[in-house]
């Protein structure tokens, strides 16, 4: 670390000041000429066949310009999932369908001259829907008599299991060894069923898209997206427009967390623009974001562990049922991740089976949500570890330290379980989990608090719990990021990356990487990102890929540029390039310089040193002129996991079940933290999201499948008054395959809070909850059941 001069330092985010003032522009802030305002009319019914849509009245509403419904849009199947091509998610979605499959399913789009006309137009559209039997229970989705949700030409784009006749959107089964024999031989087994629930990513900026035709008759899509290149491709294929005619630009984005790794609004806006020639503006209301965009997939996980006399988990079986909602975006990959990111963590397992199924229901659609299946899997896994450790009489931190995967080790799961393709074997090359566990435990006061059931306020008892996790850094052999750079006269550089900054700070971190590689300062790097015309390809912001994959591309590119600078400097100084020594943003002739040509024998200091600026001017104007520039791409054969331990201290009110989180500790190994405050910020935001998901955030549905609490206030988000004391510890390791030793850190922090809190509740009360969210009523009921119905009596008169 002592050798780095830019990475590892708290460089201020390049756009922080502009954002603070409110000068930076988000999608809906851009001035657009006479846009049409677009809005959805959505289904009020969970499952039904559209008998008729009558738009005649709506068409006559003054200001209504266009109406799209299933009768006048392309009817090809696609997936909205923002993934590489061919997507592993089933092609089961159409722009509009004649069947509606959940309350909130879009039925038509109205485009109007004003918001008022749009409102009136939407109200005037008459839709008659004939109800079909609804399916809300994922456990029943594959029953022979269950209503079938997808009965047309839906299909999988790659050869993976897809059986819509069974409402099966995805299926994964992998294994090695012999689990039956393993369980039979085990000293004991623990088998438990865990369930996790729906949630919204709830970024503060709703989905927003603006489209227009530019002066060269090209379609421009300005969108709050995590996946600008996937948007371009998917819109092109869906609307039969050549890729070359489309430009996608991502401006500032107000948070994504996965909800915008999806192509939801762009095709409709584009279609309206193409048909009318007018700009189109489509911004979802908050209610629509909750109801009609994407969510975290609920899962039911049956986890069985067989443990030998030594305490080693020898046999592990995870049987997962995932509710993908009405459409299958990410149905295969989130499901796979519940196993792929969780099961390798305890790699001394000899017998393993992972069976997962995603099923359709007439409920909101699951998507890519930070953690991406690992979050659900870790809720189960970490409680299982707590149960096993307790049964063995071993302290959980020690139990974890003894058995987790270590540097130099691998797991059969890496190879067996990929994301639609086969998995990729890998060996762990950096792992600081032990230090995470030790430092995190010390920070929370584990030894002083664990098992002590210390009293808090009257009627309460306190406990501590922990959780560990690994994630990944990009999808191996699939994710690709690229960068290009050019040099300017003043020694500054334009860095063009496809990588998508959602507020995560990737523009800044990538600038730091470039600056470090070049030997200059971050202020000399001007970043332009996420414009499909000007920046090279990048899969986008997901799978914790940006720092690791895109960062490596930037580093490669910068090193190539540096070589060119060195070459020009050598020409200027009349020496061989190898004779030069770099000193920051300058090159000097080394002590053993071999001189050639006209400048041979030069001893004048002025002729033995050139700055980057000197080089730039020379290269652009003086001799053998060329633009110093380069481009590079990166894919990875591995996905080195960050590791993390999280600790929670809770206070449980024994009479009411209310749980307060008093303190929370994050300890994470993300390799070298290229920008420590940004890495901390990722952990802090993810952790609070996880805490809120564990305790208060939830989707409440009516009997007819309608979401009842589609607002920030009723959903259960935490604000500044609710938060616990939070500490974040960055444990440094060095990942040899990462740019300057870095791994990614964007997702992992959301995986631990739910199980850590559940484990802490157990520590405090002796009661374990297997189902999320851990509402106060559920805790209360569990306490009552445990006490035989007498819980809470001590609080009475």
């Amino acid at each position: 670390m002592a050798d780095y001069h830019v990475v590892g330092t708290p460089v201020r985010k390049v756009d922080a000041l502009s954002l603070a003032q409110g000068r930076a522009l988000f999608t809906d802030d851009y001035p657009v000429e006479r846009p049409l305002f677009l809005g959805f009319k959505t289904s009020q019914m969970a499952h039904g066949h559209i008998r008729s849509i009558d738009t005649s009245a709506a068409e006559h509403v003054p200001g209504v310009v266009a109406i799209l419904d299933y009768r006048n849009v392309p009817d090809r199947y696609f997936t909205t999932a923002g993934q590489g091509f061919p997507e592993p998610s089933p092609y089961d979605t159409r722009l509009f369908d004649s069947v509606v499959r959940y309350v909130g399913d879009p039925v038509c789009v109205v485009a109007a001259e004003s918001e008022e006309a749009l409102r009136a137009g939407l109200a005037a559209v008459e839709v008659e829907i004939e109800p079909l039997p609804s399916l809300f229970d994922a456990e029943r989705a594959r029953d022979a008599d269950a209503p079938r949700l997808h009965a047309g030409d839906e299909h999988a784009a790659i050869p993976v299991p897809y059986r819509p006749e069974e409402n099966l959107a995805a299926e994964v089964e992998i294994g090695f060894g012999d689990v039956e024999a393993g369980f039979a031989a085990a000293a004991f087994t623990e088998r438990h069923r865990y369930t996790t629930h729906y949630a919204s990513h709830a970024p503060i900026e709703p989905h927003s898209t603006v489209t227009w035709i530019d002066e060269n008759d090209r379609l421009v899509i300005l969108s709050s997206t995590q996946v600008p290149f996937h948007v371009r491709r998917i819109v092109a294929r869906l609307l039969d427009v050549p890729v070359k005619r489309i430009r996608v630009i991502k401006p500032r984005v107000g948070g994504g967390f996965g909800i915008k790794q999806e192509v939801i609004l762009e095709p409709y806006a584009a279609l309206v623009t193409l048909r009318t020639g007018r700009a189109a503006r489509f911004v979802l209301s908050r209610e629509e974001v909750f109801r009609s965009s994407r969510t975290r997939h609920p899962m039911r996980i049956d986890l069985t562990a067989g443990v030998d006399g030594e305490g080693r988990i020898t046999t592990l079986e995870m049987d997962a049922l995932m509710n993908t909602g009405a459409y299958g975006a990410h149905a295969l990959t989130v499901l796979s991740n519940a196993g792929a990111k969780v099961l390798p963590l305890f790699n001394k397992v000899e017998n393993l089976r992972f069976l997962g199924r995603s099923v359709y229901t007439n409920l909101p659609v699951g998507g890519a949500y930070r953690g991406y299946g690992a979050t659900q899997g870790y809720f189960a896994f970490n409680q299982e570890l707590d149960i096993i450790a307790r049964r063995l009489g071993v302290d959980m931190p020690e139990y974890c330290k003894r058995w987790h995967i270590r540097e130099g080790e691998t797991s059969g799961v890496f190879e067996a379980l990929g994301e639609g393709k086969e998995g990729v074997a890998q060996i762990i090359e950096s792992c600081g989990l032990d230090e995470c566990i030790d430092r995190g435990a010390a920070a929370i006061g584990w030894a002083e608090k664990r098992g002590k059931r210390l009293a808090g306020r009257p009627g309460t008892v306190r406990g501590v719990g922990m959780a560990i996790a690994m994630q990944g850094s990009g999808i191996p052999k699939i994710d690709m990021g690229a960068a290009s750079m050019k040099m300017n006269e003043d020694g500054s550089f334009n860095l063009l990356v496809g990588a998508t900054d959602l507020g995560t700070g990737s523009d800044t971190v990538l600038a730091q990487i470039a600056a470090e590689a070049l030997g200059t300062s971050a202020e000399k790097i001007i970043v332009l990102s996420s414009d499909t015309d000007t920046t090279p390809f990048d899969v986008g912001a997901y799978a914790s890929s940006t720092t690791y994959i895109s960062g490596n591309a930037v580093k490669k590119c910068a090193l190539q540029v540096l070589e060119q600078i060195r070459g020009v400097a050598a020409e200027m100084l009349g020496v061989e390039p190898e004779a030069l020594v770099q000193e920051g943003s300058a090159f000097v002739v080394g002590a053993k310089a071999g001189a050639t040509g006209a400048k041979a024998g030069a001893t004048d200091a002025a002729e033995s040193r050139v700055s980057f600026e000197d080089v730039a001017y020379y290269s652009l104007y003086a001799e053998n002129q060329f633009q110093i520039q380069a481009g590079a791409s990166h894919i990875s054969g591995v996905s080195p996991p960050p590791f993390m331990a999280q600790f929670a201290e809770v206070e449980v009110d024994l009479a009411t079940g209310q749980v307060r989180v008093l303190e929370f500790v994050n300890a994470v190994d993300c390799g070298v933290a290229l920008n420590p405050p940004l890495a901390e910020g990722q952990m802090e935001g993810a952790a609070l999201n996880g805490i809120a998901w564990a305790l208060t955030e939830e989707y409440r549905f009516s009997d007819s499948g309608a979401l009842r609490n589609a607002s920030f206030g009723s959903f259960g988000m935490w604000n500044a008054v609710d938060i616990p004391r939070m500490t974040t510890i960055l444990v440094e390791t060095h990942e040899p395959t990462g740019p300057f030793g870095a791994k990614s850190v964007g997702e992992i922090g959301i995986n631990g809070p739910a199980p850590a809190i559940a484990n802490a509740i157990y520590d405090a009360t002796g009661v374990r909850l297997f189902d999320l969210p851990l509402t106060s009523e559920r805790v209360w009921r569990a306490l009552r059941n445990a006490a035989g119905g007498n819980a809470g009596t001590e609080a009475r008169g």
């Binding site: 003032q21 809906d28 405050p677 802090e684 935001g685 607002s711 500044a720 939070m726």
Partner: protein, 160 residues
């Protein structure tokens, strides 16, 4: 209908619809730093000062805001330069996606005007109407404390 609005010290005669909120009016007239996150008064990203008091502009009818002093985050700049609150926010790592930030800045300004040296608890209450999904609010507190320190220093040096 038209009305006279005093926005960031500038009096403007603006057209609006009777059903418009102050948020609608501001965004339609170039004040895009005032964001729409929910339009229900629950997230605070539309927060402005109305006669010095923080309000959710989506919860104010434009028709009732004429002749009242309206201040947005951009209005806090001093001679075109960022206010120290902007700098403190930018410096503290409290800005991730930035969508909640203009509202947070406005709430911070109102807090520090009446309470130049707030405790963590007082900061939490003052910002309790501004939801942030990115930061977990941890560096948010650092930003406010930093702003308070810089404002105090500025006053010590004889600034206004």
């Amino acid at each position: 209908m038209t009305g006279e609005f005093v926005i960031n010290g500038e009096t403007r005669t603006l057209e609006f619809d009777g059903a418009d909120t102050l948020l609608d009016l501001l965004r339609a007239n170039g004040y895009t730093e005032v964001k729409q996150g929910c339009a229900h008064g629950e997230c605070g990203s539309c927060m402005v000062l109305l006669d010095g008091k923080p309000v959710n502009s989506c919860q104010v009818y434009a028709a009732t805001a004429t002749s009242l002093a309206i201040t947005t985050s951009r209005g806090l700049t001093v001679d075109g330069s960022p206010h120290v609150i902007h700098q403190a926010w930018a410096d503290s790592g409290a800005v991730q996606c930035g969508f909640c930030t203009p509202g947070m800045v406005v709430a911070t300004y109102a807090l520090l005007e009446s309470n130049p040296n707030p405790s963590d608890e007082e900061i939490a209450v003052a910002l309790s109407g501004n939801i942030c999904r990115c930061t977990g609010y941890v560096k948010t507190f650092d930003a406010v404390h930093q702003a308070a320190r810089w404002i105090a220093e500025h006053h010590e040096k004889g600034g206004a």
